[in-house]
Symmetry: C2
Subunit: 533 residues, 2 copies
């Protein structure tokens, strides 16, 4: 390059093309670019054209409700704009492949979850203080089904006579909710508000990662009282599967938090062990597959698995208990248990290093039992550089993690990126989650393009869509597409393909999943091309 001065303009342009292409060839979709079907190539062009047009029209227009909109801006502020774009509409129809990083307790639209709960006469609600206009914004409801003999005769949560801590049946609490607090609709909005993060919370009130995590964690406390109830658990999982299928997701590996150890049975007794949770999960898979087959749509749902998780808050001894439970479940449900992971705020809870003896022992035990439960660890979901949460990336890789959950700080690790590329350790990237939890302020600032340009496999994930409002995967794909000029529909296709490629599916199952996806992808591309004619 120090000889640049002796070359002609033509030579310069020729060198330049090779130089850029040399780097672009690292990207995972690159090899395919020269072998695209006609439909794929045209669909990619159509999508780029629509993106360019909408950047000029929708995203450059000043907007009363959203000052200075731009593609990839804060999701909660721009969601109403996104859903009106042609681009988003196209992506809702895209076959997404696998959803590999989603926490089960945040996978169903909260209004649907509330509706499921309102059908249950045993479900009760209480508050730790009296509710009024001043207190409602900081008061969380606690939900629990109660055994029939404990059903409450109370009828109102907001009456002067209500004593904090007293249970009220959920339906009655809703019906009698103080009209000054909005009546039944006010009840719904209050509960939904406690299950979700709103724009003011993410972008004004809480703003920093640490603060917003407190609100984020509280949504799970509220949701668990509703979900961990056998009569809700099964329809909740089916709802999750159906909504995912409607968004083009054909296979799922869901993280389930087994920290609570038991859930309530139909009679309201908190005695249902994890193996029943898993059994019901299996029943939901079979039933949804049968339903899809009956509709002639069996190719749209290939199944689901569970990544056993517990919270990185326990002592090493407690952790050992969970690890043993995970092994027992794997033995009983070898086709359903897909891996093991720790969840919770990496910046403030225990790093992987805290559990090394237990995690190594877990691997030894697998050898003894002749089973395989891969680690699929969260790591590097942090802004830190050299902090314990960031250093989790080293331990995840040393422990042989199959994929990395988030890997937000991976871009800071040249050697680890190289290893991920060589060993095909896919990164479960959750851009909207990261943005709402304030690791990034917008998509153009997100490290995803760094990972993609390095050629590291990416599986795009929604993380906790019930809390963030990014149901399905269409929103996450949208955010990726609008924040890179290099990426196009072909890139999204590669990410979808990689989600199946890096799932725990193996052998014929994986081959079938990929073949089925490939066929749907070509059909989808034809549909996109048809838009142009």
């Amino acid at each position: 390059m120090s000889d640049a001065s002796v070359i002609t303009v033509d030579q310069y342009f020729a060198n330049r093309e090779g130089f850029i292409n040399d780097e672009r060839s690292l990207r995972r979709e690159h090899a395919r670019l020269s072998a695209l079907s006609e439909a794929e190539a045209r669909a990619d062009r159509v999508v780029r054209q629509i993106r360019a047009t909408e950047a000029q029209t929708i995203w450059s227009a000043e907007n009363d409700a959203v000052p200075h909109p731009f593609p990839g801006m804060e999701f909660l502020t721009s969601r109403d704009i996104i859903v009106k774009t042609k681009l988003f509409n196209i992506l809702t129809k895209m076959p997404k492949g696998a959803l590999l990083h989603g926490h089960l307790d945040a996978m169903v639209n909260p209004r649907t979850l509330l509706k499921l709960a309102l059908e249950q006469p045993a479900m009760h609600v209480r508050t730790p203080n009296t509710l009024n206009a001043a207190s409602i914004k900081r008061t969380l409801p606690e939900f629990s089904p109660l055994p029939k003999e404990e059903w409450s005769p109370l009828t109102c949560l907001t009456h002067d006579s209500y004593m904090p801590g007293e249970w009220v049946p959920i339906q009655k609490a809703r019906e009698s909710f103080d009209p000054n607090l909005g009546g039944p609709e006010g009840f719904d909005n209050w509960v939904i508000g406690c299950l979700t993060i709103n724009p003011a919370e993410a972008y004004v009130t809480h703003k920093t990662t640490d603060k917003i995590w407190a609100k984020f964690t509280s949504t799970f406390r509220v949701a668990s009282g509703l979900i961990l109830y056998e009569p809700i658990w099964y329809p909740y999982i089916k709802e999750f599967f159906h909504a995912s299928i409607d968004d083009g997701i054909s296979y799922i590996e869901a993280r389930i938090n087994f920290g609570y150890k038991t859930m309530c049975n139909a009679e309201g007794h908190n005695i249902v062990p994890a193996r029943e949770w898993v059994r019901e999960f299996g029943r939901a898979i079979r039933d949804v597959r049968r339903e899809m087959k009956e509709k002639g749509r069996e190719d749209e749902f290939l199944g689901a698995r569970i990544i056993y998780t517990t919270i990185r808050r326990y002592t090493p001894d407690e952790m050992e208990w969970y690890l043993e439970e995970c092994l027992a479940l794997k033995q009983e449900f070898p086709d359903i248990i897909a891996g093991f992971d720790l969840v919770g705020h990496e910046d403030s809870l225990h790093p992987l290093i805290y559990y090394i003896p237990q995690l190594l022992r877990f691997q030894e035990r697998q050898k003894e039992l002749g089973i395989h439960v891969p680690f699929i660890f969260h790591a590097g979901e942090t802004l830190g550089d050299g902090t314990p949460a960031d250093v989790n990336l080293y331990d995840a890789i040393l422990l042989g993690t199959k994929r990395i959950g988030h890997g937000f700080s991976l871009a800071k690790h040249p050697k680890l990126m190289q290893i991920c590329k060589e060993k095909r350790i896919a990164i479960e990237m959750c851009p909207i989650s990261n943005e709402i939890l304030r690791l990034t302020s917008s998509m153009p600032m997100h490290p995803l393009p760094i990972i993609v340009n390095h050629g590291i496999p990416v599986a795009l994930c929604s993380d906790d869509p019930a809390v963030f409002g990014n149901m399905g995967l269409s929103f996450d794909y949208f955010q990726v597409l609008v924040s890179s000029e290099i990426s196009g529909l072909t890139t999204l296709g590669q990410i979808a393909r990689d989600s199946l490629e890096h799932s725990t599916l193996e052998g014929e199952d994986k081959a079938r999943a990929l073949a089925v996806w490939e066929k749907r992808w070509q059909d989808f591309c034809k549909e996109v091309v048809a838009l142009d004619t």
Copy 2:
């Protein structure tokens, strides 16, 4: 790593240390870590300790004026907190080495610049509309010295009789400034507000890169009327040098925008050509060096050079004119002209590719003339991925750039990072500038740790401190230090050393600069250690 399960806990920890160290060894300060002087090693520990303490005290305390403060947060909001920290106080005393990326028209405290202007009877001011409480926020002053025969008899800018576009002597305009607009102090605040970006503009009103650039650019229009006047030019440059020296900067390569072609002479005629600008710059260097020598502080200022710049807005033909002027200046002032660059908003103005024939010709001309004027290009000061501004990085490197200005998007380029590392192309990183211009929302989100961890040389720079309020380099070093656990004082020392190493100094000059810096560094470390005892 797939054999992780057969190892013992002790083996794991041993492997882990080597594994982490293997990656850390890429960092440029790594080789030094095992050979630190006792003072350096202790100073590094002292600084880490103070950082940890202040993270818990100053940055974790809720603060009425600054909600949710955290280390590395928005600079304009946190500046008042930063200046009170012990850490910042230490860094003001650190020998910084070279300042390699600073635009001359934004290098002097705007209050000082205004004071220089108020001493000039020829300096006039006008506005394009009448000033009142409603209009003042969106009205920019225009400054210009006038020839004596054109000096204005008007005495007030804010009187009802003022007609937009009429010149008023600056001193009179200030004295008679409407008391309802704050009187003389209101005049000062108005002018300063037009020369700087305030927190509300950066973080509320403008917020996105495109919007804040409009405000940013306007500050240069205002400042140019004051600076491009020979009686101000020379003291302005001296002020810049002295303030830099006070902050520990010992050598400077300043970018000067020669786009205007001429400045006003003492008599107010706009006829002073670029060669006189450079000559006066040279006089300021000599005078400041002499002054420093007289104070027995000659080691604190080794000199300064000019990177010739013009705006990436001109036609290729116009650009050729500037390139020729740059060559002529290099021939006349071989020790002062250090390189060539294009400035202005990369996202909206012309990319390097637009000027390839002219830039290649510039290199040929150098061969003909037997001189060397390296390119030192701005490139990748953008959030884009594959946009023309991002692609500037390829052209900068293909054209043999000596360093890269900003390189904000470099982290998205694995091959280019490798080249920068191998060919020692230093990145002039300007973290506070990037944050205020909304490429990043805070320092923990800034790509600097990625570049540092890859082992690419970094020169830390202030860019436009008069506009941003980050005078000197102490603020930028502070922001870097508080947003990485890996980085410590040793890292900052390496960055300072690299600024000299990657300057255009050569041979004995460079050796002397490094030796002088090394001595000052050791003294500084001893000072830091003394804080601890």
